[in-house]
């Protein structure tokens, strides 16, 4: 597992029935403890500056796919920080060969802290105070599609 939130291993196009339908990449959980899926706050993805809405991204944990709606109410499925999540992005034709700049925002609630702290969380913006223990919300990386 790499220190960067966006991992280099796992970045490739998705081929279904002989057709490229999108691409995928992996992220780690930059937190000192695991979270339940309902704590996740997925945000927006930018690929080479092009905006991809969170509705076009499916999270895959432990081999299972989850939509945003499914994650929001799931407080029994747990994500441990030593596991990686696969993000599957819908994009007909996928990404072209070569370099691509990924910028992705996501965050998670600290479910034991006062609930009012949850309301101001924005996955696409950093917190007012950045605590290394909670990682950054927005992470960027340039990776290569072969």
């Amino acid at each position: 597992m790499e220190r960067e939130v966006i991992q280099s291993v796992g970045f490739r196009n998705i081929k279904e029935n002989g057709e490229i339908t999108g691409f995928r990449f992996k992220v780690r959980l930059p937190y000192y403890r695991g979270v339940y899926l309902s704590q996740l706050r997925p945000g927006t993805l930018f690929v080479d500056g092009e905006k991809i809405e969170k509705e076009n991204i499916v999270w895959c944990l432990g081999g299972e796919d989850y939509t945003n709606e499914e994650m929001a109410v799931d407080f029994r499925t747990h994500w441990t920080p030593t596991d990686l999540a696969v993000l599957k992005v819908k994009k007909p034709g996928g990404l072209s060969q070569g370099y691509h700049h990924l910028k992705y925002g996501y965050c998670f609630t600290s479910s034991y802290m006062p609930p009012m702290m949850q309301e101001s969380l924005d996955p696409d913006k950093e917190n007012f105070v950045i605590l290394p223990e909670f990682g950054h919300h927005v992470n960027e990386r340039t990776l290569i599609i072969v």
Binding site: S38, T82, S111
Partner: protein, 290 residues
Amino acid sequence: MYRYDRKGPKRGVALYSYSAEFGLTKNLEDCFEDVCDMGAHGIEILANTHIENYPYPTDEWVDRWFRLCDKYEIVPVEYGHWIDSHVLGGRELTTEESVEMLCRDLRLAHRLGFTVMRTKMPVINGALEPVENWREIISAALPLAEELGIVMCPEIHTPSNLKGKMVSEYVDFINKTGTKNFGLNIDFSVFRSRFGEGEWVDPQYKANEPEDIIPLLPYIYCCHAKFIHMSDDFEETTIPYPEIVKILQDHGWDGYLLSEYEGADKYDPGYEVGATLRKQHIMLKRLIGD
């Protein structure tokens, strides 16, 4: 299973200390070996971090857990977990749902050989006060905790005060119910008496004197040996450790002091938390005399 029979304050490490390295440059076995190097015999884990496939580890993982404990002469001391009542954005978990979560952790802690849990209650304000239904949640889990021989211990951490309302409410609950399955974990941050120049200090914080711990000793099953700054001659410069350890020894307190390093600098590139822990363990070893 490995046993460590020493009486009095004993040394251990909270694996949370490795949070900047765990999963990246250190795995569970590396952490166990580091603790073994220090001659410490206790550990605290965070269930949600250190248990593979939490909350449903495989039998193979559990077998491996016990093999690691034997190999490195480690006692599973404290199982850190959360009652995650605020886990859904839109509503609070019901008392029943919180109890279900707590009982699942009690069973898993028992399966891994733990006898103490650091039970983190969801807090509702900056004074770290727990959710209003904490008594109902804990009461409902007491019979199972008794059956499994486990003590659930909220941690008392800065800015809370040992003489404050929260601690007296926990003690009242213990005395009213007469339970032996609910107690306290004292984090030594409550004794911090020195701060750096210009360092932010919570306005609610008032340092406890070491002797403030004495009336609470019957309820304390574990301590977090929090440390902030170790000097190069192995002294903690912000918390009166010699006085605290002496009080624990003089009063015959028996339990583990689990080192917990929380400094944000552990996330700096090149920082080695193992070195920081080892410095503290030289101090603790000298003070305890083990």
